[in-house]
Subunit: 223 residues, 4 copies
């Protein structure tokens, strides 16, 4: 009822945050625009001043998340002065960090019902982040750390498998099952990249033990 005017981008962000919170609690499919407006402290009509439709909201939320992820990864790559091994692991960890930073936005993607939203992000991730990581691998190929024929296709496959197998809450892995699969993923990645056996695994453990960028329990990108 009190009429508070705010810059468009601030309002958009508030709505996006309100929506993300509700999505996390109930899943995208169970949240109405009415609820979002209420949560954001605005009238229903105001929602439509900033978003064309629910679909529009979803798209923009997914885009914002992946953009943040790509930016994070890019920064890490540009900054890193370590070996390709560690750069790759740092980049993967940076990906995970977005979930902590952009909470609850990123976490909204976790709900079992949000497959649609999650998928948009995953696909954009494979397409946007894939090339970034491929460049790291190519560098590794020159240094002799890696040996792959088709870095882009390979890393995209790995991102896809990881996003789907480890990032999907529906599998309902126990912590142990998750750990086993994470290790298998790292070993698979080592082999796929033609890296020295154990190299990525140890680099990953080193990062975990070290500055642990992003989140302590790091391990999966999406979940």
């Amino acid at each position: 009822m009190p009429r508070t005017s705010k810059p468009a981008d601030v309002r958009s962000a508030e709505i996006l945050n309100a929506a993300a919170g509700l999505f996390r609690q109930h899943g995208v499919g169970a949240v109405s625009i009415d609820q979002i407006a209420r949560e954001a402290g605005i009238a229903k009509g105001t929602f439509y001043l900033h978003f064309q439709s629910m679909r529009d909201l979803l798209a923009r939320m997914a885009e914002a998340t992946v953009t943040a992820m790509a930016e994070n990864v890019e920064r890490v790559i540009a900054t890193s002065e370590s070996s390709p091994y560690e750069t790759l692991v740092l980049a993967l960890a940076a990906l995970k960090a977005v979930e902590a930073d952009h909470a609850p936005l990123a976490q909204a993607l976790d709900h079992p019902d949000n497959v649609d939203l999650q998928e948009r992000a995953n696909i954009a991730l494979v397409l946007k982040v894939g090339p970034l990581l491929a460049s790291v691998i190519e560098r590794g190929c020159k240094t002799g750390d890696f040996a792959v024929e088709d870095p882009l296709s390979t890393i995209q496959f790995i991102l896809a498998g990881q996003a789907f197998l480890l990032g999907n809450p529906r599998f309902g892995w126990s912590q142990d099952e998750h750990g086993v699969r994470l290790m298998a993923t790292l070993r698979l990645t080592e082999r796929a990249l033609g890296a020295r056996p154990g190299s990525l695994v140890s680099a990953f453990l080193a990062v975990l033990a070290g500055a642990a960028p992003g989140s302590a329990e790091a391990g999966s990108l999406q979940s």
Copy 2:
């Protein structure tokens, strides 16, 4: 209006088939129970005699599909007398065959809107078919054809990556892009399984050149 009584399982199968056809055409989200009932030639109320809800229908449809896939793979494995290489490739081909044979049920999963349904199937696939293929790999480890520490986790990751990266219509890969990623996937699989370089790729090409195994012997989904 003609009141035809049928055994419960026959009716269920008819409804499932009617639904699959509509899902393929319009996507799950755009199909109402009204339409399904009409397509199945029954009254709306009758639908609820056989399915508790739309959610129930979706779950059972996904389950039926994956069950058929698992049965197909199992049959291939039990029958095959070839090397583990070829058995594995035959099994993967049998998996794909279900999509062709069990149309329109299997194909319904292809529609962009049906991610939810598709995912249920993919997850069940990873959980059900993964162990079957893992057993083939274990056999290969004993014969020295493969060398992996954790066959189950590894093949599950690969199934996941493949299901997501190659099975998802939203990526919109061109035929070329698809081919590149398929080859990268096979090479990645070779390495991940510790197989001789080129072995899987050539086995796969051999199968392709051969009798296109799998599709011919496929059974019916609802049987």
Copy 3:
């Protein structure tokens, strides 16, 4: 809340009547489907079981009204054994009678806001009833009672003028003003049809004084 099932045509008629009543009170533009459903004692969803949309309702209501008018006029013409003069006047009176018979359906057209609805009826009236009356006039031309070159165009013009000038509540004529215009209309019609001066006027007065078919205060067709 009590679930009462009725034949489709009965329900349709009930809804039509409920709608007509509300339209008369508030005008078509101010009546929501919610209100109609409440008035008809059904759930909102039930409305859509019988009418595709509000537009559909309007169209069917207008059609029903005009159909009744045309049938009334046709019956009068078929039955009448009087002179063309009287037949014509009787037919015009029968038109008016529909308002009494089909109340409140016909009266709904009276509200100032219902121009759209009213117009559909008026147009259908001109097109459907025009030819019927034209046939009477043609008969009159042969008997020498009338003398017109183009009976159809002429009577359609007269129906149009009368529907608009006398049937439109927005003019807000006083009873006197209305009477003056009615008489002028009759004299104009006499002349337009080439009838003997005073003939129609007196026939009209005779009908009024006689059996007064339809409604006592007859005089205008639409209002």
Copy 4:
């Protein structure tokens, strides 16, 4: 954003014109105040500085149109030195001219959805222009050119019939059908006014053949 201040009547006229243009394109029912404001180059709030509501806008637009028509007719009558026949025909032509000159305002009334607006104009026309033409007819009665008892009622009926039957796009007359009805109308008018057979028809044809009077000298609606 540029805050341009203008006299109230200029702004009103601009808004009226903007609205008329949109009404013509989309029909009154499909035009929002948002659109009108945008078209007029003002903010939404400014609209309400000049018009109380949409209803108000419609009423004033109809009034403006008819006022222009009445002024046109009055000017013709005052100026004309011809016979009552020709004066009458000239006046009727001047009426039609407004539709051409005051486009898009006048033409907005032509859209099928704008019946409400059209009607307001038609009614005002009958009430305002009717008396003007009646005076011409009265003059004609004195000169013996016409012979009518009640000039006002008669000409009002004729205006009504003509406005409704010939001015209503919903009838969908073909050009031929329209022509037939126009001629019938003229003959009917001759008879109704007691004019010499053929007199009006030939006067009308003469005017058509002449300088297409009316359109040239028409004034501006908002002036």
